[in-house]
């Protein structure tokens, strides 16, 4: 029976992500541990699409037997927008320190229960409101996490939420953050603010570092959170900068080149990151009248951190005529591909690659609309003038 109930529960959980026509609010209720008491709460089930639907309410999870519902089912009609469901949590004694919870599942049923009070074979969609009891740890206890935002106005921002989960208040919390390269070399250290954290409350530590201090690349941050003589260690990787590969130069070895033969393209690629770039290759598309008519690519190369490498690709120019061609070169790696727009000037004995230049275009985008509107205003002003003159004449003639 237990296995069967578990299977039904599993099925219900699996169908949770399916879009539902009803909602439950709040999604979670967290309260402090007061053993032996009865905590009365409620949640609201909203019939968001005004449908006719039958719902079943089922407590599940560790504390499911502690949850007593005012009702186990709801029948919605289109004219019922929402229903409030009250429930009582009989807080058990002897819970271990930490987080304990029950899920109150609200599931749509096709019909009515088929066997027993808890099993709903016809359940189609469901959602959960969670009941959580935080049981404090004896003495002082801190939970924390490290969050890093490296894209904030040229700064790397370190946030450390600290939650006191012990029975006693914490007088002072602070953290020291060290930043390391992938090879383990320490590049910077910084201290966060310090503050007290009362029992079962949440505060936040933070520190900032100018992004210019760090070269583009991946780093590892470790944070040692100190609170009243105890420490807690946190760690996280983060990335600074945008893209690490750059095309430094492109040339074509045309020493023995003849149109119709093989042209050797040499791409000098620099890795500006502090970690090696593996499997880097260049692919190239050549366009004629806007259509790709030839493609070729290089072998794969590894490029050391802060190093550069010449990547070679060969273009078979059979069927290629003398002329100018637009082309795109892509430097592919595990990162986002880098695109370069080039012009190839192909002649009988040479290929010139032009990549430095300017595209000059007009900024006038909505000029036609503005012209139309100005014309409309002109016509309207003219109409008003004529109208005024006609009116004056009529008044005068009267």
């Amino acid at each position: 029976m237990m296995n069967f109930r578990f299977l039904v529960f599993l099925l219900l959980v699996l169908v949770l992500p399916v879009a539902s026509s009803f909602g439950v609010t709040p999604a979670q209720r967290v309260f402090d541990y007061q053993p032996g008491t009865e905590q009365r709460y409620s949640f609201e089930v909203v019939n968001s699409e005004g449908k006719k639907v039958n719902l079943a309410i089922i407590p599940q999870g560790e504390l499911n037997e502690s949850v007593v519902l005012s009702t186990k089912s709801i029948s919605f009609n289109p004219d019922i927008p929402s229903v409030k469901v009250e429930y009582t949590v009989k807080v058990p004694a002897g819970l271990k320190p930490g987080r304990h919870s029950a899920d109150i599942l609200v599931v749509e049923t096709e019909n009515t229960p088929v066997s027993g009070g808890d099993t709903y074979i016809g359940a189609v969609v469901g959602i959960v409101t969670k009941v959580v009891i935080d049981v404090p740890y004896p003495g002082k206890y801190l939970e924390s996490a490290l969050s890093i935002d490296s894209r904030k106005n040229g700064e790397v921002v370190f946030n450390i939420p600290v939650i006191s989960k012990g029975e006693l208040d914490i007088a002072k919390v602070g953290a020291k953050i060290d930043i390391f390269t992938p090879t383990g070399e320490k590049v910077s250290s910084l201290l966060t603010n310090e503050l007290p954290v009362p029992s079962l409350e949440r505060r936040e530590l933070s520190a900032k570092l100018g992004a210019s201090v760090l070269a583009s690349g991946t780093y590892r941050a470790t944070a040692e959170v100190s609170y009243d003589g105890e420490t807690l260690d946190l760690e996280k990787e983060f990335f600074v900068g945008e893209g690490g590969l750059v095309i430094k130069n492109i040339k074509v070895d045309t020493k023995d080149f003849k149109l119709g033969g093989i042209a050797k393209f040499e791409f000098l690629i620099e890795n500006k990151l502090n970690l090696p770039a593996e499997g880097v290759y260049v692919s190239m598309q050549v366009f004629d009248d806007g259509e790709v008519f030839s493609e070729f690519k290089s072998a794969s190369y590894d490029i050391d951190s802060f190093g550069s490498k010449e990547i070679v690709a060969f273009w078979d120019t059979e069927n290629v005529k003398v002329g100018k061609y637009d082309s795109k070169a892509f430097v592919n790696s595990k990162q986002e591909p880098i695109e370069a727009q080039l012009t190839l000037d192909v002649s009988e004995n040479n290929i010139i690659v032009i990549g430095t230049g300017y595209v000059i275009s007009s900024t006038k985008g909505g000029s036609s609309l503005v012209t139309i509107l100005i014309v409309v205003i002109g016509i309207l002003v003219l109409l008003n003038l004529v109208w005024f003159l006609v009116l004056r004449r009529k008044i005068k003639s009267k």
Partner: protein
């Protein structure tokens, strides 16, 4: 004439004028109220110090036009190449022109010259280095200086 009819016509004309003016002024979209780019408003791009540059429609520079400092240069939409000979080194850059433009070469300082927009409309410029976009800016119209007659 019916007074009500006159009022309706007047209301339509007035409302139409106001609405048209509203959209022409552009309250519904961001309005540029400051210079479009920093520094010289009409500076499009800079070049190494040269006394002149060569411009041609082909990379072989078979029939180049020579543009001197303070010269105006009218260009129609098309693809052009400029050759900059600055003593020891020579460099070729490409200009993809998508609208009618008028350029002028002016000395900026001891080491560089600037190419300015002296045409009739503001321009959008995208600069590429080794094929990669390195700058994108909007350039105002500047006034032409010098005789501007040779271009």
């Amino acid at each position: 004439m019916d007074k009500k009819f006159i009022l309706i016509i007047d209301a339509v004309v007035l409302l139409g004028s106001l609405l048209s003016a509203f959209f022409v002024v552009g309250y519904t979209q961001p309005l540029v109220i400051a210079p479009l780019n920093s520094g010289e408003n009409s500076l499009m791009f800079t070049l190494p110090k040269v006394d002149y540059l060569l411009i041609d429609e082909n990379l072989k520079f078979n029939s180049p036009k020579t543009v001197f400092i303070e010269d105006n240069l009218d260009l129609e939409p098309g693809r052009y190449y400029i050759k900059i000979d600055s003593g020891l080194s020579s460099e070729i850059r490409e200009l993809k022109v998508e609208t009618d433009i008028v350029l002028q070469l002016r000395k900026l300082d001891e080491d560089s010259v600037g190419v300015f927009n002296v045409g009739e409309s503001a321009l959008s410029i995208k600069a590429y280095e080794v094929g990669m976009l390195v700058n994108s800016s909007l350039i105002n119209v500047g006034s032409s200086s010098g005789d501007g007659g040779r271009g």
